[in-house]
Symmetry: C2
Subunit: 152 residues, 2 copies
DNA sequence: TATTGTTATACTCTATAACTATA
DNA sequence: TATAGTTATAGAGTATAACAATA
């Protein structure tokens, strides 16, 4: 099946293809732990911000309260984090559990291995250049206006 | 909220962030046409392969027959393509309709504008370097084994 | 009034499984 | 037997809307 060349020169299309490769391997790397890359990111945010509440976590992940709720439920069910009493009676304080700390360390190892595989054909200099150029891509005006959601 | 530095050096994480920016603007650019970037890609594949069947389309998009079916239904409902009799009685031949051609051209214009916004801070040389480096990222062994699906 | 958590509901995308009609 | 399309169903992931408790 022919691909068609309409998208060939587009940066966004190349990033889409690259992203598919990266996310697939990252998923496989984390699958034994029953978590997706997005859930590991949530776990890392909680570790970096002990005692944060669900709403703040959701904002950091660009999802609303309801979605943050579901995410936290999964991490609690997995025994990785717990909800403790928060700064007021409305709020939960999220904390990584000791077992969660161990798991996070293992998962980060697997993720770094995956990342090494992804960039295996790059020299150190090329890798640095790529990182720098990716950082120069910018959020266009249209997208910067913010999505129109009710919640956060 | 602190970000935590565990993912900072990872190529895959940087690509994830960049992808989010790119896909959001691309979605906004195509929203007036009622199609997502993925559906435009499907449309371009059909245009590049007139008379292709749904299964082949699905394979090119890495989705199974059932998902390809739904996708084609949407494009048919939008009046962009049609199903014609295929090479045998089991098969549909997918064809872009004249109206679809027009829409595709407009959507490609909007998508290219979005792509220009994304790379607006890059010189032509930087842009070329970025494209070349992204092409050097490779599908790791683990992911190359192929996903374990029943279908395509 | 505003905020936090929660629940119910729905929509998109994708998958699996089973059915049918062809081949 | 194998393949193409179809349908029903289910599971992530996300969103909206409403409610209770608290601020």
């Amino acid at each position: 099946m022919k691909q068609g060349s309409d998208l060939d020169g587009l940066l966004g299309y190349r990033i889409e293809l690259t992203h598919l490769i990266a996310i697939e391997d990252a998923r496989l790397a984390l699958a034994p732990y029953g978590l997706t890359p997005a859930k590991l990111t949530a776990l890392l945010l909680i570790r970096a911000n002990p005692g944060c509440d669900q709403t703040a976590l959701g904002k950091a992940l660009s999802v609303n309260r309801s979605s943050a709720m579901k995410l936290v439920n999964v991490l609690v069910d997995r025994g990785l984090i717990e909800r403790r009493p928060g700064r007021d009676l409305r709020t939960n304080a999220l904390h990584l559990l000791p077992g969660g700390e161990e798991r996070v360390a293992e998962m980060l190892d697997r993720l770094r291995e995956s990342d090494r595989r992804l960039g295996a054909d790059l020299t150190a200099a090329e890798r640095a250049t790529l990182m720098a150029l990716l950082k120069k891509l910018r959020k266009p005006r249209a997208a910067r206006r913010g999505a129109t959601t009710t919640d956060g």
